[in-house]
C-alpha cells in the first residue's frame, strides 16, 4: 500500500468535502426556496459534472487554470504558482467534479421539508441563514450525511480529473486511484489488489453508514 498516496487521497477528500458542504448547503437551499426562473439554469450547471466525462472536465480546467487564460494568469500572479499540477488545483477540480454529489441529496432533503414549516419560520422572523441552519439542515440531516459521504467517496475514487489536472506527482497529486493505475500498468497485480480492496472497503463501509443512518428504527414499512 502506498501510504503517502493514501494520506494524500484522505486529505483531498476531507478538504473537498468540507468545502463542498459549505457551498452545497446554501446552493441547495437557494434551489429549493428560490423562485427565479434562472435557478433552473443554475441547477443544470450544478448537475453538469454528472454527465460530463471526467477527462473533459479535467481538460477544460487545465486550460482555464493554465497560463493561456486571464483566469490562469491572475491566479498564478496571486498565488505565485499555477493551480494546475498542484494540490490546490486538485481541490478546485474535485469540488467542481463532486458538486452534484453534494447538491443533489441536499436538494432532495430540503425539498421534502413541509412548506408550512418554512412559512412558520419566516413568520417568526427567520432570515435565510437561520431558516437553513435551524430548520432545513436539522430536518434533512440524513441528506447532509449522504451528501458528505458521497462527496468524500467520489473524491477518494476520482481518476480522470486528477490525472488531467494534477498529473502524477508523488506527495502532491498522486492519489490512490493514480497509484492503482500505475500498479496495473506495471503488471503488479498483487499491489493493485490491495489498493483496489482498500478503495472498495472504504466505499462499502461508508455506504453502509449512510443506509444505516437513513433507515427508520422500525424498518422502511413501519
Amino acid at each position: 500500500m502506498d501510504w503517502q498516496a493514501f494520506a494524500l487521497s484522505l486529505k483531498l477528500a476531507t478538504v473537498t468535502t468540507a468545502i463542498l458542504l459549505a457551498v452545497a448547503v446554501p446552493l441547495a437551499a437557494l434551489l429549493v426556496l428560490g423562485r427565479s426562473r434562472w435557478l433552473a439554469a443554475l441547477e443544470a450547471l450544478a448537475a453538469l459534472p454528472l454527465v460530463l466525462p471526467p477527462t473533459v472536465l479535467g481538460f477544460f480546467l487545465l486550460v482555464l487554470l493554465g497560463p493561456r487564460t486571464a483566469v490562469g494568469r491572475g491566479i498564478t500572479s496571486l498565488l505565485g504558482h499555477p493551480l494546475a499540477f498542484s494540490f490546490s488545483g486538485l481541490v478546485v477540480g474535485s469540488v467542481i467534479y463532486s458538486l452534484p454529489f453534494a447538491v443533489q441529496p441536499l436538494v432532495a432533503g430540503f425539498a421534502v421539508v413541509e412548506p408550512a414549516l418554512v412559512d412558520a419560520a419566516r413568520l417568526l422572523g427567520a432570515n435565510p441563514a437561520r431558516l437553513v441552519l435551524s430548520l432545513l439542515v436539522p430536518l434533512a440531516r440524513r441528506s447532509l450525511l449522504a451528501a458528505a459521504v458521497l462527496s468524500f467517496l467520489h473524491t477518494m475514487g476520482e481518476f480522470g480529473v486528477v490525472l488531467m489536472l494534477g498529473g502524477d506527482i508523488p506527495g502532491a497529486t498522486r492519489t490512490l486511484s493514480i497509484v492503482l493505475y500505475n500498479q496495473v500498468e506495471n503488471f503488479d497485480y498483487a499491489a493493485a489488489n490491495r489498493t483496489a480492496a482498500a478503495l472498495l472497503g472504504m466505499s462499502v463501509v461508508a455506504l453502509a453508514a449512510i443506509y444505516l443512518g437513513s433507515r427508520p428504527k422500525g424498518g422502511r414499512r413501519a
Partner: protein, 244 residues
C-alpha cells in the same frame, strides 16, 4: 385599523377586496374556496402580488404601509420593529418537529435579548393558551388540539400588533375552543392586538361580537356586525336547532 385594497389572481381565482377593518376583532366568513386563506397569506406577507400582470395590493395597518405593490414595498414577515409584526396561525399547527414545545414558542424571540426575558415570554404564552404542562414535550407527543394551542402560543409570544387566525381551533372541542377564545379575546384587548379570524363555521363567527366580512368567490359581499351580515346563517342554524 387595517386598510386593504387587493386585486390579485391565482390561476383562475380572482381576489378583489377593498375595505377597512376598524374593529379589534374581525371575522372573515365564507365557504371553502372563497379566498380567505389567500387573503390572510397576503396580509401576513407570505405571498406577494405577482409582479407581472395586473395584480395590485396596498395593505396598511395603523397608518403604516405593509405592502404597496405599485412602488415595490413589501415588509418582510417577522416580529421585529422593521418587519410586519404580524403573526399568523393556520389550521395546520406546523410546529418544528425537532424542537421542544419551549423551543418552538421561543423561536420568534431572539430579538428580545435576555434568556430570562425569553423564558418568561414562553411561559406566559403557554399559560395563556392552557399549555404550560406541555413545555418539555416534542410535537410528535402532542394531540391535534394541544399542537394548535402551542402554535397559538408561538404566534403570541413575540407580541404581534396584528394577529391572523385561519381556523386555528378546528382540532379543539366546542367548550375548549370557547374557553380559549374568551381568554384570548381578553388578552388581545389588553395588549391592543387587532385580530382577523377566517372561518367557514358560522358558529365561530356568531360566537364573538365581531365585525364580520363576508367573502364570496374572492369578492367582499358584505361587511358589518355579525347580526347584520350573518342573518341568513343565524336563521339556518336556529332552524337546525329547532328541528333537533
Amino acid at each position: 385599523m387595517l386598510e386593504l385594497a387587493i386585486d390579485a389572481r391565482r390561476g383562475s381565482f380572482h381576489l378583489q377586496v377593498e375595505c377597512r377593518f376598524a374593529s379589534d376583532w374581525t371575522v372573515i366568513f365564507g365557504p371553502s374556496g372563497a379566498g380567505k386563506t389567500t387573503l390572510l397569506r397576503l396580509l401576513a406577507g407570505l405571498d406577494a402580488p405577482s409582479r407581472k400582470g395586473p395584480d395590485r395590493a396596498r395593505i396598511a395597518f395603523d397608518n403604516r404601509l405593509l405592502t404597496d405593490s405599485p412602488v415595490g414595498l413589501a415588509l418582510k414577515p417577522g416580529p421585529r420593529p422593521w418587519e410586519r409584526k404580524t403573526s399568523f396561525v393556520t389550521q395546520q399547527p406546523a410546529l418544528f418537529p425537532h424542537l421542544t414545545v419551549a423551543a418552538n414558542v421561543a423561536y420568534g424571540l431572539p430579538w428580545l435579548g435576555g434568556e430570562t426575558e425569553s423564558k418568561q415570554a414562553v411561559e406566559a404564552a403557554l399559560e395563556l393558551v392552557g399549555a404550560s404542562s406541555l413545555i418539555d414535550r416534542r410535537p410528535r407527543d402532542l394531540s391535534g388540539g394541544e399542537a394548535q394551542r402551542v402554535a397559538l402560543a408561538r404566534a403570541l409570544a413575540p407580541q404581534p400588533r396584528l394577529l391572523l387566525l385561519d381556523e386555528p381551533f378546528s382540532a379543539l372541542d366546542g367548550s375548549a375552543s370557547d374557553a380559549l377564545l374568551a381568554r384570548l379575546q381578553i388578552w388581545l384587548t389588553e395588549h391592543r392586538v387587532q385580530t382577523v379570524l377566517a372561518t367557514h363555521d358560522a358558529t365561530d363567527a356568531l360566537a364573538t361580537s365581531a365585525e364580520v366580512a363576508l367573502l364570496r368567490e374572492g369578492c367582499l359581499a358584505a361587511l358589518g356586525s355579525a347580526a347584520e351580515v350573518l342573518v341568513s346563517e343565524r336563521r339556518r342554524l336556529l332552524g337546525r336547532l329547532g328541528k333537533g
